[in-house]
Amino acid sequence: MSILKGLSDRMERLGSLVQFAFKAARTLVSSRPDLREWIRQGYLLGNRSLGLVAVTAFIVGLVLTVQSRPTLAMFGAEGWLPSMVAISIIKEIGPVITALVCAGKIGSGIGAEVASMKVSEQIDAMDVSGINPHAYIVVPRMMAATLVVPVLVLLGDAASIVGSYVGMVMTAPIDPSLFITQAFENLEFSDLLPAVAKTVVFGLYIGLIGTHCGFESEPGPSGVAKATNRSVVTGIFGVFLIDLFFVNLTNLIFGS
């Protein structure tokens, strides 16, 4: 019985999310975009996350290089290391790790902010004044996340490549230009395009989930805490699902 209840609650939440997304999409299409607010939100979200993304990505690049080196050395394939790391980072690890960091940092920020607006009746205040809260709360944050996450992923990829170079240098010195040449010589357009495309979807999803969880917040401080937690957990889970979908789609279109 409790399993059925849990399933029913999740389906209800999914239905509410779809309805919320349609309303946001309709608002996006029908109202004049508040570009200043998009940029302001984008700056806040990006500025808040850049340091964490850069440090995390740098460490991932470094660790990946240091860990992979002995195995490749056993097969005499050390020369493939820069290329292998670059492809792994750009195609998969960079976008996913950055999206996960953003789901935590951006998702929780949006979730908590919107939930506290809901709890303190700021959203109701817009509603009763005939102001569409989707236009001034949801759309700017959703679009800001959609635009900022791909930029953060690209910057994170760059930090990972730098981390990888540092990992290489730690064991055996290598000329930076040789490292760059080796890293990018096997990268193709079909590696880059799906990777960038999915980061846009990651951003859109993180913004949507954060605002939805905030809007659905229960009253009181515990409601804000639950909404924040839910926006992070649902955000992280969704990032993996979107990634799974994109990997299969990419293999279907470009071949595995």
Partner: protein, 258 residues
């Protein structure tokens, strides 16, 4: 129990076209538990009606149903003759632009300064973009509520009373035909409570708007009310002026005045 009288001079007995706000047979429940039961309410132009009731008597649900934040299970709400229940979202927004609402916690936008809180509504609600006109409206409404010196402050720098004043200023800036107040004096000291109550009274006198005040503060009710409805278990159990209800023999009503 005090019941509505048959006095035809009473605002509640006026003709239908003078009603600014009306609830007819309003019923609302949660999980099978009724919160509002066949609620009848009528507010006329220029009148201040106070809804009095204990905690949990359905005051806030009533208010939320009156502005369409909650939908009635049965019955209807009419604002200037327009049915809220049958209005689509565009029509509902147009109806709501005639309303001013002071929330219990003032519902100030925390990330915006006092000035920006007001400008936000002037730009979005009134669609006024001219800087000079916006400035003039901001200054006028801040003077009306005695908050002009706080124009550059952030909400976190304001006291409880100042937040209420800002909430009132924001509600008034759109020149509403109907003002609704949700527990306007809750959480304030007696002196500030009385200042806010007088401000509600003065606003009603100066602008002639219809006002509905939901409260359990008797001093606020005494200062502001033309007429009072007492709510018990989601239904109106008594109605009259402050003086009439004060002399009621009903124990529950008397308890408010003791």
């Amino acid at each position: 129990m005090s019941l509505p009288t048959e006095n035809n001079d009473r605002p509640d007995q006026g003709p239908a076209d003078t009603a600014t706000l009306q609830m007819v047979d309003g019923t609302k429940g949660f999980g099978g538990e009724p919160v509002l039961r066949d609620m009848q309410l009528r507010l006329n132009q220029g009148e201040t009606l106070v809804i009095l009731g204990r905690s949990g008597s359905g005051k806030t649900v009533l208010l939320k149903c009156l502005v369409g934040l909650m939908k009635l299970d049965e019955g209807s709400v009419l604002i200037q003759g327009q049915d809220l229940g049958s209005a689509d979202s565009k029509a509902l927004n147009q109806i709501r632009k005639k309303l001013g609402f002071l929330f219990q916690g003032a519902a100030i936008y925390d990330s915006l300064s006092v000035r920006e809180n007001l400008e936000f509504h002037i730009h979005r609600q009134l669609q006024i973009q001219d800087d000079a006109e916006v400035e003039s409206l901001v200054m006028k409404v801040l003077q009306d509520v005695g908050l002009e010196e706080a124009i550059g402050k952030m909400p976190s720098e304001l006291s409880g009373g100042m937040r209420k004043r800002l909430g009132l200023a924001r509600a008034l800036v759109s020149k509403p035909d109907l003002m609704l107040y949700d527990e306007p004096t809750t959480g304030l000291d007696p002196v500030t409570s009385q200042e806010i109550s007088r401000l509600i009274r003065d606003t009603q006198s100066a602008r002639g708007v219809a006002s509905l005040v939901v409260t359990h503060d008797m001093r606020c009710a005494q200062t502001t009310a033309d007429r009072i409805i007492v709510l018990r278990d989601g239904a109106a159990c008594a109605e009259g002026t402050y003086a009439e209800l004060e002399s009621s023999s009903d124990a529950d009503i008397k308890a408010f005045f003791s």
